[in-house]
């Protein structure tokens, strides 16, 4: 009976795929091969473009990106710690055209999902057979009173999204503020409850800034106003590291969602307290990038993230529009690793469908993320999630989770991970 049921589900999945494939056959342009337009050249978008071209060089791919270079979020905490330079976090797009990707540096300002075209700031109109959106996150700054004014005054930074230039990138600005802060000052870092980009990031940031303080400003303090109930990612590892390397320096305050900031008095207000700061770093709540709203795919119940079909990453709401990376509504971590991995699953599904083959109904996502706890120690979290077409969800496999300790070998792996994910995405 089990086999029969499974087979029925299998068949249902194949029918869906067949319908998708025949629908896309109608979408073929006169040249005979499809044109896939990808918006956003980060770990999701650039990887998707590259792998579509590697797996089927007959598919035409246009990759639209506003910035001239890629500004990585992974490793910017290392810059704050003095372990790397900002220049080392920037990646060139120069290799992508070598895969036959039509790279367009422009900003999409309109999406016509009926006629299937996008319009850009420079006045271009680009037709697509399928549109893949990988814009990353947008901040909901209006949820924090005074945030917009503080950011405009340069006194409140998120440093949770980088670019558009090295000089204006918020990690650059935050590093300068930390360097200008007197010894004995207070650095406040506030983070929202999940879901959001890189859940372990704020805790790594606390480690890296503490590392910098320990070398240069040992009387300084870090106050973490955490919208989470605890150190929810790699908790035991971070807590051990804080005690071992930075005793008395990091004051972690859970259940402390920030509601207001006054950049003139430098007071950060949470649901429970007012905290006086010398340097303010607030990571606001996030939602899917603005283009997802333009395309009508920010379609979860709160209108914040984008639900997708777990096999193709197509929006169930808007046909021929796919979404990758942090913008996706799912139980997956919003990490570089997951974005890169989703991009490959989407690329494989599109390649199979445009070659009249059934896409794989059982994709697997692996997610690994490393966090540094000092200038010589890191620790990983790893989880494998398998798509179950019966439940229409990615199911976490047993055995996944975080290491309880950070160490030297994982610091070496962490560095290699950076090099490899960048090479896999951009080289």
């Amino acid at each position: 009976m089990t086999m029969q049921r499974r087979d029925f589900l299998k068949f249902a999945g194949a029918s869906l795929a067949g319908a998708l494939a025949s629908a896309s056959a109608h979408a073929k342009p006169s040249s005979g091969r499809p044109h896939i337009v990808i918006v956003g050249a980060g770990f999701g978008g650039a990887t998707c473009a590259k792998y579509i071209r590697m797996w089927d060089p007959t598919i035409k791919v246009t990759l639209i990106e506003s910035n001239a270079q890629y500004f990585s979020c992974p490793m910017t905490n290392w810059v704050l710690g003095g372990l790397r330079t900002m220049e080392e976090t920037v990646q060139s797009y120069k290799n992508l055209p070598g895969y036959g990707i039509n790279m367009v540096h422009d900003t999409v300002i309109g999406v016509d999902t009926d006629k299937r075209s996008v319009t850009t700031k420079d006045g271009k109109k680009i037709a697509y057979d399928r549109l893949v959106l990988a814009p990353g996150i947008e901040f909901m700054t209006d949820l924090i009173e005074g945030y917009a004014e503080g950011e405009a005054a340069g006194k409140v930074l998120h440093a949770w999204k980088q670019g558009p230039t090295l000089a204006t990138s918020q990690a650059t600005l935050l590093k300068k503020q930390l360097e200008a802060m007197p010894d004995g000052g207070v650095f406040v870092i506030a983070s929202p409850p999940p879901p959001g980009r890189c859940v372990s990031g704020p805790y790594e940031r606390a480690c890296m800034v503490a590392h910098y303080f320990k070398q240069h400003k040992p009387k300084s303090k870090i106050i973490m106003l955490d919208g989470h109930f605890d150190v929810v990612s790699k908790g035991p590892m971070f807590k051990k590291a804080w005690k071992k390397y930075y005793a008395g320096m990091i004051d972690h305050r859970p259940y402390n969602l920030v509601t207001k900031v006054d950049h003139k008095s430098m007071i950060v207000t949470s649901e429970f307290e007012d905290v006086k700061a010398d340097v303010i770093n607030i990571v606001p709540k996030q939602r899917a990038g603005a283009i997802c709203k333009l395309a009508g795919v920010r379609a979860d119940s709160a209108g914040v993230w984008c639900p997708v079909n777990g096999i193709t990453y197509e929006s169930p709401k808007v046909p021929f529009v796919h979404v990758l990376g942090d913008s996706v509504a799912s139980n997956m971590p919003k990490s570089a690793h997951v974005s890169n991995n989703q991009a490959k699953i989407c690329a494989a599904a599109l390649v199979e469908m445009y070659n009249d083959r059934e896409p794989n109904s059982y994709p697997i996502i692996g997610s690994t993320s490393y966090s540094a706890t000092s200038d010589h120690t890191s620790g990983p979290i790893a989880v494998v999630m398998r798509y179950d077409p019966d439940k229409e969800a990615y199911i976490r496999q047993p055995g996944g989770g975080a290491s309880e300790d950070s160490d030297e070998i994982n610091f070496e792996y962490n560095k290699t991970w950076f090099d490899h994910i960048w090479a896999d995405t951009f080289a």
Binding site: F11, P359, N360, S361, I364, I365, T368, V383, H420
Partner: protein, 116 residues
């Protein structure tokens, strides 16, 4: 009616494939589920591409994480089994080994062994 008949035919075909172990079987298994052979080809290249994120593009490492390209198939399969069983010390690989099946170890082993 058409759908039911098709399901029935596929079901029968699957039983035949499982019981007769036909040489030219048009199906392959992913986690115990039957698929056209092309799906398994796509599945293997996609899960291999997951490995690239840490182990380097095409499994060619430039750093501390070991290379997979050109490794002996039996070595890779044994390594995964040992990670899963806890016989070999790991940082993240036990967590990965537990998420993949024996047939996926085999497919990945073959895939990386073939990269020169």
């Amino acid at each position: 009616m058409h759908v039911k008949a098709s399901v029935f035919l596929i079901f029968c075909g699957m039983l035949f494939a499982v019981s007769a172990q036909a040489e030219d079987k048009p199906v392959c298994l992913i986690a115990g589920w039957e698929n056209p052979a092309s799906v398994c080809v796509a599945h293997t290249k996609t899960i291999a591409a997951t490995c690239y994120i840490c182990h380097g593009p095409n499994g060619k490492s430039s750093g501390a994480i070991p290379a997979l390209a050109g490794q002996d198939k039996a070595y890779l399969v044994t390594a995964m089994k040992d990670f899963k069983a806890g016989k070999r010390e790991t940082t993240v690989m036990k967590k990965y080994a537990m998420g993949y099946t024996d047939s996926e170890y085999e497919a990945l082993g073959e895939f990386f062994a073939s990269i020169k």
